[in-house]
Symmetry: C2
Subunit: 303 residues, 2 copies
């Protein structure tokens, strides 16, 4: 439904000079009063979809609601500035927690992350309703003088790099990940990045989106994926790395010589790995050691 | 629960130089990169609380979700710039409408209002979940050189003015109101306003908030309230005007001579009426023609 609705939006939401990049990226560029360096993004989480309040500590839920938005800012290479938090609390609370207990616990989870990334919490809206817990965070960020990192700048021949390790996020990483803000800013500052996004719906699906926005196709080196420990605990680790989603790692497209420099330098605290390349022909493939390509379905987390 | 949670927030959310007004107003001032003219606000609406999808056209619901945020920008005397929209759709849709139908209808309602107020729709997030429809809109606005209109600038002796008419919003106005953006900008430009906010939870409750933020009390002239036609169709029209909520009119505190000028000029397309005054003693009262004051409970829409 999300993909179909996006098509409708692209046809019906008029272009506006204040949102010059449109609706194609993880976040939107705002051009306000002569400046074009503000980035805005919003992500909504629901109980039963993005977490299960019955089992999950609401502090982890609150943290996640902010973290996924900071990951979207990282995807654009923006420095976080501020966030607002809207919450619909289940009127009956959850277990022994009242709605007020829940609201406080959510904030207890997100406040330390806000402090860590120097995010000003600029208000919000907290209500009760006859439904499951819903959190909607909107985050604002500022670009550096290097401008935005977008999905559309990839070129055929570009190498595809990912930070960290992929797969098995459901075992805990989807709560505890650290948004790759510092990594995105460092890489965008030191190297020429053609395209970037965060991997929220799985490498295969998100890569297919980046390739489409860049007017390219892509090949994944299926035997070179950096597998998380969690993925290795589960059946079919490479499939996990391709399709699990919620990795919140960066996916970057860079020229071959830039990829070589980054892989040699390993400038981040986390690993950075080459997982494929962009190609001229539109479509998605995987290859293994012998170089033979087979089609790869862009499966992943569909909203 | 909202009031209690606000107290917790004020104690636990650290002050940040980027949000210099804190959490006391309808919207938050953002001080970004040397400029302090950006305003951000967020409001979340839920089915069963703010509308009933069974009966209400989703176009009106979508329009309302944006309009309440524009009203918050008006309350700060900010010009709307951009908005983001996060939606949790009921997985089963509603009646004969699929989730996609619903999402489109919501946008069909909010797009014309965005056009009318030149709001750039800068992305969003649309998901399905196992719960009722929830919409969370975050709006950004820009202050004029006159700076922000806040709740805290009222002084004892100030007259209290309201735009439009009050009460009975439930009969339709809560969907169809036009946010008082143009009115707020005009008044803030031409007159010296001490304090302002929008009346979303009822005159009595919202006035008690403005008075408290201004360190004052307030007296309502209970026999001089501008009653809407809807309020007059319902029992106890003055109580409706005091407590119904969702009027989305402006409440302003101004010096006596400014009040006289505004009431004489009547510079708006809608009526503007004097409904009371701020007083030095903290508390809330109502008076009628004879000037006798009786205590007034700050009742209204409690979230």
């Amino acid at each position: 439904m999300e993909a179909e609705f996006h098509r409708w939006l692209r046809e019906h939401v008029p272009a506006h000079a204040r949102a010059p990049l449109g609706l194609s990226d993880d976040a939107a560029l705002l051009s306000l009063a002569g400046r074009a360096d503000l980035i805005v993004t919003t992500d909504l989480l629901s109980d039963g979809v993005d977490f299960r309040l019955e089992n999950d500590d609401p502090r982890r839920v609150g943290r996640k609601a902010l973290a996924v938005n900071l990951s979207d800012l990282a995807a654009m290479a923006a420095r976080p500035l501020a966030a607002v938090v809207a919450i619909a609390l289940p009127r009956a609370g959850c277990g022994s927690r009242t709605p007020l207990d829940l609201a406080i616990a959510l904030y207890e989870g997100l406040l330390p992350l806000a402090m860590e990334f120097d995010v000003a919490l600029a208000g919000g809206d907290t209500n009760t309703h006859d439904g499951p817990l819903v959190l909607s965070v909107t985050a604002l960020g500022q670009l550096t003088e290097r401008g935005p990192l977008t999905r559309s700048g990839g070129r055929p021949g570009d190498k595809l790099l990912v930070t960290g390790k992929l797969g098995g996020s459901i075992l805990g990483h989807h709560f505890d990940f650290t948004p790759r803000v510092r990594e995105a800013l460092l890489l965008h500052d030191r190297y020429e990045l053609h395209a970037g996004m965060d991997i929220s719906d799985g490498l295969a699906l998100d890569l297919s989106r980046m390739a489409a926005e860049s007017g390219c196709g892509a090949v994944v080196y299926a035997d070179q994926l950096p597998l998380s420990e969690a993925a290795q605990c589960l059946p079919h680790p490479p499939q996990r790395a391709l399709g699990d989603g919620e990795d919140y790692e960066l996916l970057l497209a860079v020229a071959v010589n830039v990829a070589e420099a980054i892989l040699r330098d390993q400038p981040l605290d986390c690993l950075i790995t080459c997982v494929g390349e962009l190609v001229a022909e539109q479509g998605l493939w995987q290859s293994v050691g012998d170089g033979k390509r087979t089609p790869l379905e862009p499966k992943g987390w569909q909203h």
